[in-house]
């Protein structure tokens, strides 16, 4: 088992990288390279040769830091296996107010260790990839990029390690902050700035719910204290649920607050609008944050407080419905998106819906299993799309095509990721998606059934849209890329059709291997040498949640695969062989098509109706009126009072010494007189 200081090093290594890059390396750059020269250099940084030692060291430092964190995470995972999932670390006092203690500490249960491995491994690969992808960036931008990436990794690690809900919330917000910084990384681009703000504000709505949930939990501190527990300590919360201190309506409301936070962070309906827009950030950022780890934080949060959710059947049903609906709803929008990253973004939202669905039906280990496999194949797909962008200079699939011949490795890895996403066995995504569907199928009652059918339908769509993306991108003839699209601010992207550099291809290969095999390896159907049967589920079952291992469903799996394959076949018919005309289909179902292209008008609903009409027109105008006519007038009245009382008093100040003398004398006489009178 790792000593505690080494576990903290997992958190502090990337954090230190952030501090060093941000507060040492970047200021040094300003000293070494005059700003004027740098600005001039912006125009000619289309080659990767301009990287200075300082700039290069930023990247290397960040990669080493996350590498250390990754190695330690692996050690921690094995330590946790040896330890049967018990967390041996004792929390430290942070703040004591009266008899209330805030603690800070490490909760090293199976969920944490698995999340640690996912976060650090994907982060490591993405950061290696970024050396190639961000090579067009100038030195200062490059260092800033790695500083933010390190900050993000550190906050995500802090989030999964937290043993206290306040500690968890702090890192939760840090994750949101670093996400904001990275989406708006190219801050000269107005759309990136808008997307960053949107992501920050929309997730903040969910975070507010989470905060309310924490506060409501805190209201029950008295009941906790009576049982010798601390309402903010996560392990104590588990105990409290077992002891029925939290039950019924209380559990429902706490769970609702926590779930609101998860909905915001994981882009679940109805707070899904920010996630597709977040694709404005650099592609590795999308891969790391908006596919593999940060958006999974919502799922992690629900899993972390799963006992609370289990205590409330209402919330479980809400999760099933929202998860299932999101899976289907996002998939439909993915059908028509033309931006390859948006297709992937919708698929992310959809897959997160699957995870939520699994949590809702009580299949805790299945949800985490899907999170685990999804992190790898979705990071793979995103990095693949970045590689494609590197060659074609665009993200718009209408201007791609034919890239299979020039970038075979990217093509192969993208297809592997696609198959995995579509849920074809024996690829990683197949195993986990099957388990989600099986869990939903086995759930009792009508609501899991609704979730199941929505998820099954979404599985077909997933096969369709991902293969549509593959065919449009890699098959057929090249349609001129960025040259045809005619966008200006491409940040160095231009058409040069060749395979991406080794730094980018290497992570793709590693992730491809993971996308193929990792699903079966960690959760095999039979004993697999060192890995016992259903290891993943059993391991998670050592945590606070009771896990029921569901056997492989021999009937359901082929059906689910058939649904996916039919989607894939349809994609081939429409875009490869063109037997079915996509245009005609679009024309026939024009209203539906437009509805999907316009994303169900949710952006319009939120921005025009809720924000402009309701907030600007209603709430803000009312508040403005109150401010203008009431608050302001109170202020004005106080000022007027001072000015006019002064006017009256000013008449007394004549400058006539004798009047003053008289006044003073009268005053003294009065005081003396009163004194004598009352004595």
């Amino acid at each position: 088992m790792l000593s505690e200081s080494l576990v903290w090093l997992i958190l502090f290594a990337p954090l230190a990288a952030f501090v060093i890059i941000g507060f040492v390396i970047r200021p040094l750059m300003r000293l070494v390279i005059p700003v004027a020269a740098q600005e001039h250099g912006d125009d000619s940084t289309h080659s990767a040769h301009g990287r200075s030692i300082l700039g290069g060291s930023a990247g290397i430092l960040a990669i080493i830091a996350i590498g250390v964190a990754f190695v330690l995470s692996i050690v921690a995972l094995f330590g946790s296996i040896d330890n049967h999932g018990d967390s041996p670390y004792i929390a430290h006092d942070w703040l004591t107010v009266g008899n209330l203690e805030f603690t800070i500490g490490i909760l090293m249960d199976p969920l944490t260790t698995i999340m640690l491995v996912v976060v650090t491994s994907v982060s490591l690969l993405v950061q290696i990839y970024s050396v190639g992808y961000m090579s067009h960036e100038d030195d200062r931008g490059y260092a800033r990029y790695y500083a933010y990436m390190s900050l993000f990794s550190a906050s995500m690690i802090g989030l999964v390690l937290a043993s206290n809900i306040v500690q968890l919330f702090a890192f939760w917000e840090l994750v949101g902050l670093s996400s904001y910084l990275l989406i708006g990384f190219w801050f000269t681009r107005p759309s990136a700035v808008a997307a960053a703000k949107k992501a920050f504000i929309v997730t903040r709505i969910g975070d507010f719910g989470l905060l309310l949930g924490i506060m409501y939990l805190f209201f029950h501190q008295d009941a906790f204290t009576a049982a010798g527990l601390n309402s903010l300590d996560i392990v104590d919360i588990y105990t409290a649920v077992d002891a029925k201190i939290i039950a019924g309506g209380v559990a429902t409301w706490i769970a609702a607050g926590i779930f609101a936070g998860a909905v915001g962070k994981s882009g679940q309906f109805p707070l899904h609008t920010w996630l597709p827009d977040a694709m404005e950030g650099p592609t590795p950022v999308s891969a790391l944050i908006h596919a593999a780890t940060m958006v999974a934080a919502g799922v992690f949060l629900v899993a972390r407080f799963f006992p609370v959710f289990e205590a409330s059947e209402t919330m479980m049903n809400v999760i099933i419905l929202i998860g299932g609906f999101t899976a289907l709803f996002a998939a439909t929008m993915g059908l028509v998106a033309t931006d390859i990253k948006r297709v992937l973004a919708y698929s992310t939202v959809s897959q997160l819906g699957y995870m939520m669905l699994a949590l809702g039906v009580g299949a805790y280990s299945v949800a985490i299993f899907h999170l685990f496999t999804h992190a790898f194949f979705k990071a793979l797909l995103f990095l693949g799309s970045g590689s494609v962008n590197h060659a074609s200079g665009t993200f718009d699939m209408r201007y791609m095509g034919g890239l299979r011949k020039v970038m075979p490795i990217t093509y192969a890895s993208f297809v592997i990721g696609g198959i995995s996403l579509a849920g074809i066995l024996p690829f990683a995504g197949g195993w986990s998606k099957d388990e989600v569907l099986t869990a939903a199928w086995n759930g009792a009652g009508a609501i899991p059934a609704i979730g199941f059918w929505m998820a099954l339908l979404a599985a077909g769509m997933t096969g369709f849209y991902i293969f549509r993306a593959i065919i449009l991108t890699f098959h057929g003839d090249f349609r001129k890329g960025a040259d045809a699209e005619g966008i200006e601010d491409t940040h160095g992207a231009e058409v040069h059709l060749k395979e991406s550099p080794i730094a980018m291809v290497f992570p793709l290969i590693l992730l491809s291997i993971a996308a193929v095999g990792i699903g079966f390896v960690v959760n095999p159907l039979f004993d697999l040498g060192i890995v016992p049967q259903h290891w993943f589920g059993h391991f998670l079952g050592q945590g606070p949640v009771h896990v029921e291992i569901e056997d492989f469903n021999v009937v359901l799996a082929p059906i689910a695969m058939l649904v996916s394959i039919s989607g894939i076949v349809l994609a081939f018919l429409m875009y490869q062989t063109k037997v079915v005309s996509a245009e005609q289909l679009g024309a026939r179902f024009k209203p539906v098509y437009i509805l999907l292209v316009r994303k169900y008008y949710f952006d319009e609903l939120y921005e025009d109706i809720i924000v402009r009409r309701f907030f600007y027109g209603g709430v803000a105008r009312t508040l403005d009126w109150i401010d203008g006519s009431i608050i302001n007038n109170i202020g004005k009245f106080i000022g007027w009072l001072g000015a006019n009382v002064g006017t009256a008093l000013r008449q007394l100040q004549t400058g006539q010494t004798q009047e003053y003398g008289a006044a003073i004398s009268i005053g003294i006489l009065t005081i003396v007189g009163l004194y004598l009178w009352f004595l």
């Binding site: 100040q653 004549t654 400058g655 006539q656 010494t657 004798q658 003398g661 008289a662 004398s665």
Partner: protein, 117 residues
């Protein structure tokens, strides 16, 4: 002649001086009135010193000795102090009056209103 007679004269003098100081426009007259008030105070001090014996002395009797001289002369000493200080004060006051006169060609205190600003 008792203490009251001195105090009455002193009070009358003080009141006349006080009235003059607050009502006369001419700065010289004001200064003179202030001088009247000083002298009223002096008169009170000396009279009280002469007629009022501190209790400690009254009870000490034969043993008073050195202390008696000190206490009995306190009023007189103060009167001399006040006269000295008043002389200095009048010198200062006249200097101010002259300075004001040079500036504004007036010795009326009602014209000297600069302090208002």
């Amino acid at each position: 002649m008792g203490l009251e007679n001195f105090l009455i004269v002193s009070a009358v003098l003080f009141s006349i001086g006080f009235y003059g100081a607050l009502s006369k426009r001419n700065a010289i007259t004001v200064l003179m009135s202030i001088e009247l008030m000083f002298n009223a105070v002096n008169l009170t001090a000396v009279a009280l010193s002469r007629y009022v014996v501190p209790e400690s002395l009254a009870t000490a009797g034969q043993n008073a000795g050195q202390d008696a001289a000190q206490f009995l002369l306190t009023g007189h000493i103060f009167a001399i102090f006040i006269i000295t200080v008043a002389a200095a004060e009048i010198a200062l006051g006249l200097a101010i009056v002259i300075a004001i006169y040079r500036n504004s060609e007036s010795v009326f205190v009602t014209d000297a209103t600069q302090m208002r600003n």
